[in-house]
């Protein structure tokens, strides 16, 4: 009925109405942790680089980059025409200030750990060294020198991440604790600037930033955002032409899969089951150390059925532990997951599962197991536990008790090892497999299930150390590590998360990445 009133699809206007499914909690670059703020910051601000299609690195404030000292020193030359929306020039000092602010323990940035590897960053974060000792220097207004403790192969990609964006000291000081709490207590150097955000409201607008150095590439005059938490509401809004994009829930997906507006956005986020090898229940600890039992538990899960009939939100069967579409082999262009594929680790074979389970039980001298399955009490968590419980209980001798607890309880329980099995999820912070793989080294504190393999450890060490500057060798190290983990069935991957959207086909040029700053609207347009 409202079709005629449609405000957005007319091509002359170059505006669009988009939705977000959560509030915007902050616009403070140092404090952004969530998807919404990182999307908004990524489109209203710009760092040394901007992440483009397929995770590619496209120009940002840096005009030229020089890597030296075995990959430990980066010298960036900044473009002179970059300006803040208040008219100030964007200078190297803004980067120095921004970075120092983020690692400063007083700022309490929750992403300061990403700076790890930059000289002195870890010590500064832990309050052991002065902020000024951070390995970043401004040489004049337009030259920036960054010193690393050790080579970081994905360092350039990090520069596209919002926490590494420059910050205007004058503005930060001016607003003090109010900085980034409303759209006006903020300054922008990116393609758009934000208006209409009071800090707590549910709608705001991104307007084209006329001070942006590359403003000629920006086609959209404004992007209106509205927070819609309820999926049905979102769909209703979409169908009444009030918005041009909405996230679909699983049943909605079923009904809109064939729609021309339907799109799936994969996330670099894998859901997997960890088994506690240090379980206080000795029988279970023994069981989880038994590979056959681990494999049986994996084989018993029909991931395809789960993803399609139960979850149904566009998520896909996990190809392995590292998620798909995260990184590509620079030579062959093949996805990491296909290079490192171990099909048996994610396959469904009930007969085999039963057989292995029986053998496994025999090996550890048990006839019955009673496992608790821990997860959070979110919708996804509940669905997963219910489904897996159903699948596992088909294995003779296995009973499963579900424990759905609040998210934070789940975290603290998995960290303290107070669980039998837990459904965990990991999101990559940046588009490199190492973001996943470093988790399961023996000493990592997020290795909740205490997977331990010296081979795996040394492969990861190599990737981070000796092979850091050798793209191919590093790639091969990581592939091997993933294969090792999967062959051991160290964890049981279930699915890779995705979100399904309805997006008007008239919206063009939205760049999406599975990790990091996911949405880039710089080149967006309405046709």
């Amino acid at each position: 009925a409202c079709g005629s009133k449609s405000s957005s699809t007319s091509s002359s206007k170059q505006t669009a109405n988009l939705t977000q499914n959560a509030e915007l909690p902050t616009m403070d670059i140092s404090k952004s942790t969530d998807v919404v703020s990182s999307n908004m910051l990524n489109n209203t601000n710009e760092g040394l680089y901007r992440i483009g299609k397929n995770g590619s690195i496209t120009p940002g404030i840096a005009k030229a980059t020089k890597v030296s000292n075995g990959g430990k020193t980066y010298t960036f030359t900044l473009r002179k025409n970059a300006k803040w929306s208040n008219g100030d020039k964007v200078t190297a000092h803004d980067f120095v200030y921004g970075w120092q602010r983020t690692v400063n323990p007083k700022t309490a940035s929750q992403y300061a750990y990403l700076y790890s590897g930059i000289k002195n960053a870890d010590q500064i974060v832990n309050g052991k060294k002065a902020v000024s000792t951070l390995g970043i220097k401004a040489e004049g207004d337009y030259k920036l020198v960054v010193t690393l403790d050790k080579p970081i192969s994905y360092f350039k990609k990090l520069m596209g991440f919002v926490n590494f964006f420059p910050q205007n000291e004058k503005v930060v000081k001016k607003y003090g604790s109010k900085y980034g709490t409303t759209s006006s207590a903020m300054v922008y150097n990116g393609p758009y600037k934000m208006t209409g955000w009071t800090g707590t409201n549910l709608s705001w607008t991104l307007k084209k930033n006329n001070d942006y150095w590359d403003k000629k590439s920006v086609k959209m005059s404004s992007l209106k955002f509205q927070v819609v938490k309820d999926a049905s509401t979102g769909l209703n809004l979409y169908n009444s032409n009030k918005v041009d994009d909405t996230i679909l829930s699983s049943t909605q997906v079923k009904n809109y899969k064939t729609n021309k507006d339907y799109k799936v956005y994969k996330t670099a986020s894998t859901f997997y089951i960890e088994m506690n090898r240090n379980d206080s229940n000795k029988t279970l600890a023994k069981a989880f150390k038994n590979k056959k039992i681990r494999q049986a538990l994996s084989l018993a899960i029909n991931r395809k059925e789960y993803v399609s009939s139960t979850l149904g939100d566009g998520s896909t069967v996990a190809k392995g532990y590292v998620s798909e579409d995260l990184a590509k082999n620079s030579k062959t262009g093949k996805d990491f997951t296909s290079d490192a594929s171990v099909p048996s680790a994610v396959e469904y074979n009930q007969a085999k599962a039963k057989k292995l389970f029986k053998e496994g039980l025999k090996e550890i001298g048990e006839t019955k197991l009673n496992i608790k399955l821990l997860s959070d009490d979110t919708d996804a968590g509940k669905k997963a536990t219910e489904y897996i419980q159903g699948s596992w209980e088909k294995l003779p001798g296995l009973t499963v008790t579900n424990q759905n607890v609040p998210f934070k309880t789940r975290l603290s329980r998995s960290e303290s090892g107070n669980f039998d099995t837990v459904i965990s999820a990991w999101n990559a912070d940046f588009t490199d497999p190492i973001s996943f793989l470093s988790l399961f080294t023996s000493s990592n504190s997020y290795n909740n299930g205490k997977y331990s393999s010296s081979e795996y450890d040394s492969l990861i060490n190599k990737a981070n150390g000796s092979d850091a500057n050798n793209t191919t060798a590093r790639w091969n190290d990581m592939v091997k590590a993933e294969k090792q983990l999967m062959n051991d069935q160290g964890v049981i991957p279930i699915y890779q998360q995705a979100t399904s959207h309805l997006t008007r086909t008239s919206l063009k040029g939205i760049i999406y990445n599975t990790a990091g700053s996911q949405y880039n609207y710089k080149y967006m347009s309405v046709k």
Partner: protein, 344 residues
């Protein structure tokens, strides 16, 4: 008006004095003897709405607590293959009951789509894990009722106890209890419940029941207190006191029976209230945890798919609404039935 009653036939002996013993009983009570309960029952039966509600409630209770005996389906048995199948009753060919569903604007046979053989049919369809919705509704109704009944029982005990104490003792005890009630009722009940439910790290029946009981007793206490204050000065209570009856005995023998109507009526409103709040908590995501189900979780699961699988919301919602209606109407009816003013 007869002035000269000659037309009346008089028989000899008519004017003989009447034998008192044989004559009519002058202390006779003509109406049949009805106990209070019988009287209420009679008046309840006369109130058609309330009586129908009573029967409906009876049926719902039977379904919830005895339904499994007739309908042997495990409410937790999953058949993911058959997830989200619409209702199908063999032999019925009405859209919505024949296993067909409108998908992307087209009418499709969901059972065929799921590859179900012709013998597969779910009377009220299935949910996202292919669980039988009818079984789950029966199960959910039971859980909802259990929560409501236990919570109500608890606040009955607390509320009536404290209400009587407060009203009977008066003075400082009364003031103290009144303060507590005031404080508790100055916090919106849902907020308290939410706080309680979240404070218990594990949400589940116990925490919901505790939360419900904590909140609802205040109403009960207020009502019983007011009633006790009234009764306290009634002559029959004074009479018991002049006879030397002890306070606890008076409470038990005189107050409680006379409070019973208030209590029963209030219970009729507390139970649906509890059911409702449980549903509400489930809706905002802090209710009963899976695989347990309550009407609230069922509705809240169902509403997510309302546009495409409306039956998933409608059926549990219908049960909830009928429950609420029945309890409320019965409560209204009982109030009328108990009301001495509506005697006869």
């Amino acid at each position: 008006m007869v002035e000269n009653p000659n037309n009346i036939e008089i028989n000899p002996g008519d004017f003989a004095p009447l034998d008192k013993q044989a004559g009519p009983d002058k202390e006779k009570i003509a109406a049949p003897s009805l106990t209070f309960g019988q009287d209420v029952w009679r008046r309840l039966k006369a109130n058609k709405t309330a009586f129908v509600s009573f029967i409906v409630l009876l049926l719902l209770f039977l379904m919830a607590f005895g339904g499994q005996a007739l309908y042997h389906h495990d409410p937790n048995a999953q058949a993911p293959k058959y997830a989200n199948l619409p209702p199908k009753i063999p032999g019925v060919n009405i859209h919505g009951l024949n296993g067909h569903i409108t998908q992307s604007g087209q009418d499709v046979d969901a059972y065929k789509q799921a590859g179900a053989s012709s013998s597969v049919h779910y009377v009220l369809g299935t949910d996202y894990l292919g669980r039988d919705l009818l079984a789950r509704i029966m199960y959910g109704t039971r859980i909802s009722l259990e929560i409501a009944l236990i919570a109500t029982l608890i606040d009955l005990t607390i509320g009536v106890g404290l209400g009587i104490l407060s009203g009977w003792k008066g003075g400082r005890v009364d003031i103290f209890i009144q303060r507590i009630i005031e404080i508790l009722s100055s916090i919106p009940s849902l907020v308290v419940m939410v706080l309680m439910a979240t404070a218990f790290t594990k949400t589940g029946m116990a925490s919901i029941i505790a939360a419900l009981a904590l909140i609802n007793w205040t109403t009960m206490a207020r009502l019983t207190r007011a009633q006790t204050l009234q009764l306290k000065n009634q002559d029959f209570i004074l009479a018991a006191r002049t006879l030397g009856e002890s306070a606890p005995k008076i409470a038990w023998k005189h107050l409680l029976p006379n409070l019973s109507s208030v209590i029963i009526i209030q219970t009729m409103f507390t139970i649906p209230n509890a059911i409702f709040f449980e549903a509400f908590l489930s809706y905002i995501g802090i209710g009963i945890s899976s695989p347990q189900a309550s009407l609230g979780t069922l509705i809240s699961d169902g509403q997510k798919n309302f546009q495409f699988l409306p039956y998933q919301m409608w059926y549990p919602a219908a049960v909830l609404i009928i429950l609420m209606l029945a309890f409320n109407l019965l409560g209204d009816g009982l109030r009328d039935a108990f009301d001495p003013k509506s005697k006869r």
